[in-house]
Amino acid sequence: MNRFAALIDALLFMPSRNGKIRLLTDYFATTPDPERGWALAAITGDLSFSAAKPAAVRALVMERVDPALFGWSYDFVGDLAETVALIWPERPGTNRPPPPLSEVVDELDRAKRAEVPRLIEGWLDALDGTGRWALLKLITGGLRIGVSARLAKTALAEWGAANGAGCDVDAIEELWHGLKPPYTELFAWLSGAADRPTVSDTGGFRPLMLAHPLEEEDIRALDPTSYRAEWKWDGIRVQVVARTLGESRLYSRTGDEIGRAFPDIVGRLSFDAVLDGELLVGVPGDGGMHEVRPFNDLQQRLNRKQVTAKMAKDFPAFVRLYDILFDGAEDLRGLSFDARRARLEDWHARVRPAGMDLSPMVPFATWEELADIRAGTRENAIEGLMLKRGDSPYTAGRPKGPWFKWKRGPLTVDCVLMYAQRGHGKRSSYYSDYTFGAWTAEPAAGGELVPVGKAYFGFTDEELAQIDRWVRNHTTNRFGPVREVSPGLVFEVAFDSVHRSTRHKSGVAMRFPRISRIRWDKPAHEADLLATIERMVVA
């Protein structure tokens, strides 16, 4: 437990991604099984203890600490695990050695519910402050140390590659859901001591095939007859893994399981296939195609652990299909796109899956014609076009050439810098996150600035230094890491689309805002009006 505690403590304070990977690979290299596997499961969120609840921990601490003192402390610290870890009165003379992580996992797994509080109490007495914090984070769920499951797997892959295991992160993703903590056979493979494990569970995630952005000038080098076009929908990319025997799952593009938030989709998967598509919100319309609602509606459904019936009714989710990877047990990924598309259309006509439709192909003869089609679409749910080579197999990762995404040209407006916030890590001495606003009316007619968005990229390091200097010289107010500035610096802000939003004072929310140009030359009062942005909202 002490080693695990030291690891997550170091990860919490490590600002750089590479530094986090180094901490993880060092830990994997120097910690034995099964300890390292349980730690990995804790970090990736694959470990949970149903019998250990925050309420039980709170009850334990109340036996030893004055409730009023605990209350004030909790208010100050703001996190239950940390408050208990800090306030826990150590008993002098407690001579128990701190438990290894594997002992904690084993005993919690075996214990009856009523025995759990005494177990936790014994461990809290045996551990130091950081150890108590790690234990409580572990058993109450959610480490929140700034390490995603994906990053942990990336570190695993790097460690494996350094040991000559010949793996990459996609190979680990593909195995992941077929493996169980403490992942002994995975570590055996990655340490170079054994072959790649074989996985029988077919509910696993298959890493997605991704596209490169298409530059306007690249397109002339491509032969239009080799490529197929389809819409790029503005939802979230998902993989549907449906099994008639066994569990069906819905994965995000990074392999996180999101099915629990979408019972309206997972509950209707009564077939055997692995599909690639876009998760959207909308209701069935004419001809079986759904009418897509704006991304904002989908956002209501994201990042929720539970979904109410009302949620599912007000914001019904569906999947728009792009591709088929498995039909039953048959792996179609080696087939060409054209062959897979034919299989997908056949499959769809045969199975008629509820809550799904087919993303239509966009026929074209020349790039000019396709460019016109792309420019002509005003539908908000469309981000642009996808170009896929007709002969391309389904390959994990982002190979250059077979697939391109050709996004719609961005919209731009001129906005005024209102607030600047300090960045993180290497940017921590710079004001690098900008909140910008538009005028509610002409400033001469009494208009005021109202924030319309926030962006932290789109400029060079040199421009960052210039903006930083400007912010420091034009500060009118300070709120912790945030500075308010006088209206005087205009950014040309680019964004993909803009939506109505009740959560923002301005009533609008931008998708992917970024700084496209710094208009040092432009006076603030000539920046755009809020009404201009409102006109860009497509219902």
Binding site: F13, D66, L69, F76, V77, L86, S429
Partner: protein, 343 residues
């Protein structure tokens, strides 16, 4: 025949800001740590929220007066009267004695005596050994006025030596990076240097310019800090692998860009709360404080044994609650003008 001594609150009173703040000692005709300029001030220690400019007459320890002169110049006070620890002096009808508080150089508890009643104003204090200042001495009294900066049981500072060992270990791990440690200019800076020297670290220690004058002053008062060098103006490459001390506000600001790939550390009692350290962008939190932690605060109330406990600046409610639970007549003072910083 002995008269009943006067009740403490009848002659020592907390002042709102429109009565100049701090504590008003009626029969002595002076304030302790007032916020606004007053005719007569008694000052516990040199931190800027206690030692403010513009008083006509100031009574303080020689160390505190030296700090006030260094920081405030002509504004330190029209007449400065030094009084060493342990010596009693009459001010009006009140006898005033300074007793070490263990907080920073020159820091004192103010022992006030009038007609058989004794009130002790702790100022800021800590109970742990500090090589740069005299150690706290408990004084039995009728009313003890205590600070409560870390007045919650989640604050238990680990031994400062262990925190310094963390810093030195990190330096071994990252020999090509510089370690920049945020420290308050008065007290924390010199204590961290002295602790590094105690741990056997004998390389030059580099300083932000704002830290240099008080380090010089400590040296003049006989505190050995070893070789110190200004970081401002030094070549970037020269500071690889070195330890640099800086004011907390500069560790992540423009000033720090001169440092080679710095590990950002911060020496403060607040670093005990991980999420606070994280929010501040600190990579290496060092829990080193010049204030008493929860155990020191409660132990001090037991040691002093005053039936009345007045609690000021910090998390008053928790310490008041604890003291009341043990039979003390405790109350919060709600003094204004003191900062919630670990200074």
């Amino acid at each position: 025949m002995t008269a009943t001594p006067p009740k403490p609150e009848s002659w020592v009173q907390p002042c709102p800001i429109d009565r100049d703040g701090g504590l008003w000692v009626e029969p002595g005709g002076f304030h302790v740590d007032p916020v606004r300029p007053v005719p007569r001030a008694v000052i516990t220690h040199g931190h800027s929220d206690h030692a403010r400019p513009g008083h006509a007459h100031v009574l303080a320890t020689p160390g505190t007066l030296a700090i006030m002169r260094a920081r405030l110049g002509d504004q330190a006070g029209a007449a400065l009267q030094p009084q060493p620890y342990g010596a009693a002096i009459r001010v009006g009808e009140v006898t005033v004695t300074f007793v070490p508080a263990g907080h920073v150089l020159g820091s004192a508890q103010v022992v006030l005596e009038w007609r058989g009643s004794r009130v002790v104003v702790s100022g800021d204090y800590k109970r742990r050994p500090d090589p740069t200042c005299a150690a706290f001495e408990p004084v039995p009294c009728d009313a003890f006025i205590t600070e409560a900066t870390f007045g919650l049981p989640v604050f238990r500072h680990p031994p400062a030596e262990a925190e310094i060992a963390k810093l030195l270990h990190s330096r071994d791990l990252f020999p090509d990076r510089c370690h920049v440690v945020g420290v308050y200019a008065l007290g924390k800076c010199q204590r961290v240097i002295a602790l590094l020297r105690q741990a056997g670290y004998d390389r030059p220690i580099w300083l932000h310019g704002a830290l240099i004058p008080i380090c010089e002053l400590y040296r003049e008062h006989g505190v050995d800090l070893g070789e110190l060098r200004p970081a401002t103006g030094a070549a970037k490459e020269e500071m690889r692998g070195e330890i640099v001390l800086s004011t907390p506000s500069a560790i992540q600001d423009k000033w720090s860009r001169r440092l080679p790939d710095p590990v950002v550390a911060y020496a403060s009692g607040w670093m005990r709360v991980k999420q606070r350290a994280k929010q501040r962008g600190v990579e290496l939190p060092l829990i080193i404080s010049d204030h008493a932690d929860w155990d020191e605060l409660t132990q001090t109330l037991l040691d002093v044994g005053a039936p009345e406990v007045w609690v000021t600046h910090g998390r008053e409610e928790a310490l008041v609650h604890w003291a009341q639970g043990r039979g003390y007549a405790a109350r919060p003072l709600h003094l204004v003008g003191f900062e919630d910083e670990d200074v």
